[in-house]
Amino acid sequence: MKKIYLLEDAIFSPLGFSTEENLAAIKNGSSGLRFHKNNRFPTGGFFAGIIENELLNETFLKIGKPEKFTKLEQMMLLAVSRVLEKNPDLNLSKTALIISTTKGNVDLLTKSPFPKNRVYVSELGNVIKDFFGFQLEPIVISNACISGGLALAVAKRFIAAGKFDQAIVVGGDLVSEFVLSGFHSFQAISPEPCRPFSKNRKGISLGEAAAAVLLSSKKPIAPNVISIIGEASVNDANHISGPSRTGEGLYKSIQNALGEAQVSAKEIDYLSAHGTATAFNDEMEAVAFNRSGLENVPMNSFKGYYGHTLGASALLESILTKHSLLNNELYASLNFDEIGVSKPLNVIEDFEEKELQFAVKTASGFGGCNLALVFKKD
């Protein structure tokens, strides 16, 4: 099978407007989660990772008029533009545009200065396509919290099959009142910054981010390159808003992805978990990882840095996984205290340098969806 490589990438988040700034913040143990006032909550507010509008507008001025684009569009356009800037020779008539989001511009359902059709997720695709002049129709994926990782898998599958040679995958979501009120109705929002896999975890924190990466079948000229060598997505077929207790879908996703990669669990050097810090999710992941023989693999969740960035999260975390492998660095699972799941896990508590070659990234979401990706460094 053709190898699919991860080339240039960009992250726009409260931790910074480039991948480099984001990695530096993570190495530093800085979190983007801050307290924001909101009357919906008995505590008077909530913790989330929110991008400052002014800073974003100012940054966006370099590529366009901020008043013409929604916040989410600005974030996603900036992420794509950063990747394109570094690849000025990219032929946009032959480059696929693959977009992941859960809620897109859903905040436009309230009064807004934008045309009504902008609320459609398909319109978000058109906006990004037209801004840069992509020629191929965008492929938009909205598959709950695995969207960003599934977009990578879809890109890899199409490139491997020869539909196109390269693709830009971009994901983004906002911390909207829409999503916040919904998770609050599930009583899922943590009153403090989230603590994935911890005994004292109290739920999720939300976050917003956009991330983009260029995928290609052409091997880049670099001392080390990262490729996706396996991927799979399997539905739990159990419950639409709660994960399977046996971690069935995630377990099968991991098995299928490792099978395709022809790599055994023993060879995996690092595991980037979903780790939302809800009671059920983290427990389910611990069960699935143990069933997969991954319990001793150094693992983390990035949610303590970013919160749950929904349709961006699995893409953002895959990009961070890529840099973990390239830099031979294991990043601490922020806010972890002591193990709070019924099965053993090797949670990374302190930053560590270690030779790494293979990594697994997983995600799970509403609707019972699960995803596993296997990355390799050559």
Binding site: Y120, H184, S233, V234, A237
Partner: protein, 202 residues
């Protein structure tokens, strides 16, 4: 892309108060019925007997009804992939949640504010532990569905695919799902998918 010998094994349409299995109309109601009434009448007519149905939003009910018709005469392997698409995402339920935001928000509404929930509901009902994806497109995209179904089948990620379009916008619905496998007479092609999708709209 591949030229595997895949077939459009069977298909179903739901539109304008009518349900078609292949070319045959299996159910029709008065046009005066609202969406909820039409869905309820279809549920009764098809003898679905699945109490969870009544908790679902419109998009999921359409998906359950369509899959019921489509799966009736076939053995559906648990690894059958679901590849769905639409243009409105979950907008009908999004509006409902949005309206509730001033007061009490319901988790049982919020959970349906994602288009892929219909994939989960069908997976639960028919015990499919399989590949799922939900694409959002401006309009029915035969090329994307055909090519992605082929990619999954060729990569041996699945033995069959249910793919199609399931859109619900301002109480107007347009559902076209088809089963893709090695069985059947109609070759899987962009043209055939397109032709079958629009035959109802002549």
């Amino acid at each position: 892309m591949s030229n595997g010998n895949y077939k459009i094994t069977d298909y179903v349409h739901i539109k304008d108060h009518r349900i078609f299995h292949g070319k045959d109309q299996v159910f029709k109601t008065e046009k005066s019925l609202g969406l909820d009434q039409f869905l309820k009448a279809s549920y009764k007519k098809l003898e679905i007997a699945y109490p969870k149905f009544h908790k679902m939003d419109g998009l999921c009910k359409l998906g359950i009804i369509a899959s019921e018709v489509l799966f009736k005469e076939h053995f559906i392997s648990p690894d059958t992939a679901l590849v769905f698409s639409n243009s409105a995402s979950s907008l009908e339920t999004d509006k409902k949640h949005q309206q509730a935001m001033g007061g009490m928000v319901s988790p049982s509404v919020f959970v349906y504010t994602l288009p892929n929930i219909v994939l989960g509901e069908i997976s639960i009902k028919h015990k499919l532990q399989s590949e799922n994806v939900f694409f959002i497109e401006n309009q029915f995209n035969a090329e994307l569905l055909k090519e992605y179904a082929e990619v999954l089948l060729e990569a041996k990620k699945t033995s069959a695919v249910v793919c199609g379009w399931i859109d619900l916008k301002n109480a107007k619905y347009d559902v076209f799902l088809c089963l893709i496998s090695k069985e059947g007479e109609i070759p899987l092609s962009k043209e055939n998918l397109k032709k079958l999708y629009i035959f109802e709209n002549e």
